[in-house]
Amino acid sequence: MIEKEIWDGIKIGDYKAFQNLYSYFFDQLYSYGMKICNDNEQVEDAIHDLFLDIWKYHKKLSPTTSIRFYLYRSIRRKIYKNQDRNIKETVFEKEIETFFEQTGDAHDLRIIEEESKSLIIARLQVGLKELPSRQYDALVLKFFSNFSYEEIGNMLDMNEQSVRNLIQRGLKKLRALLGTGLLIFAAVLIFKHFFLI
């Protein structure tokens, strides 16, 4: 796909180009949307609103170097506009503290023995969603959507170094969340590695 051609086409009202844009980006925008809000209807509405805006204001579209970046940034805004993110964020920050404290204690041996990779992943999934929202956002944009630190900084309105710090903090928390459960898991791997080969 030649991005510039599509974008220019839309600017002059080429409906076919518009359709191509939709067709090409729908799946990835949908799946990114699901990552950050986990509600089909909200994601569908956001995509609908985004593309409606694009067609509605196609004459006024500004030139863009990356359609993908533009679309992700827009869909993100649409979704967050529909949620009262700020309120949620402060609640999350508190929840996350208690969550981490609890998981530390909850690790009695009985559970650890039954811990499998899928359980670890399940726990991580919960932990991931409970991260402070900006940390979570940055992690998803970096690893799931493969944006550069610069682009992420642009989307989140912060400089590159702050994005790196944000991602580092997020990863650290997730790693801590795995606690001893993972160490057991790793020990099994090491055991296999040294004794079964």
Binding site: D14, S31, H48, L124, L174, R175
Partner: protein, 350 residues
Amino acid sequence: MKNYETYQPGDFLLDDGFVEWIKNPDMDNEYAVFWNNWAKNNPQKIADIEAAKIIYQTITAEETVPLEAKTKVWGKLQTSIISEIQANKTKTPVKSIRMTILKVAASVVLLLGLGSAIYFGVQQFVNDKQLVTVENQRSTPSTVLLADGSSVILYPNSFIEFPEIFDDRFREVHISGKAFFEVAKNKEKPFLVHSAHLYTKVLGTSFLVEDIKQTSTANVSVIEGTVAVYSDTDNENEIKNGELGAEIITDKQAVYFNTEKAVFIRKDFNELVYSSFNFIDTPVLHVFDLFEEVYGIKIVVDRDVLTGCSLNASLTDMPFQKKIELICKAINYKYKFENNTVILEGSGCK
């Protein structure tokens, strides 16, 4: 070389080379070579590496996109775009609604969008050839329903001429100006549009013809189906007998005919907004509004009982009559065509 031995848990994923490696652990690139080797030499870090892998997998886990989501959202989007266009149109009062009918054969055709019942049922000026001519002098489109079940949206300053009864082999019409055809399917009897510079031949499809004598480009655009386009310098009999090669155009394509150089130029067709009649959870009343707008036909119905009723249907590529018939089947209504209106009767969608 970075000092990976002192890496804190979580640091690994900040290294793009490390990420490349866990993305494609079996690839034979520099990252894989380095990290495979490093992992082997640093068994004390295996837990951190495993943790990084699992964290990466969790963050990048694919979200399932429901199969129908794409078409569903697209359908809604189409509907929104159309209503957006309607809302933006300045509501200019309809001036003099006048449609000149030169010859009318009322027994076989219904003429819609005429604004007055006077023209209906008039059976004068039918000439020897039994040709009916309708000219749209309004500022908005109007629709002509043909005896074979096809419908033609006639745009302002355009006219169409067609026989009272189509002959056995062809459904042949003449037009000048701009007209959108939704042709009833009949493989036995091709539909032939003769315009100022072109012949367009189809079996059943929807397409737009724009061609007047004074113009330097004539244009045929296809929504769905396939049509064959010939220049009018081609021999008419050979066209009818299918002996000539033609410009074949299919779904969402258009050809422009340069009348001076007599050459065809192909393009993508981008005027699709009005031509897509795919409705998903669209309020029925909204669909009727759209029809009134696009076809220039009045739809008379008790709107109150239909509030809250919605429609899921793909009504692209079929004549107007067929669209009404299918909707009525869906909501269990009766319909009749009368003058410039369609009258619908029923008791809501419950």
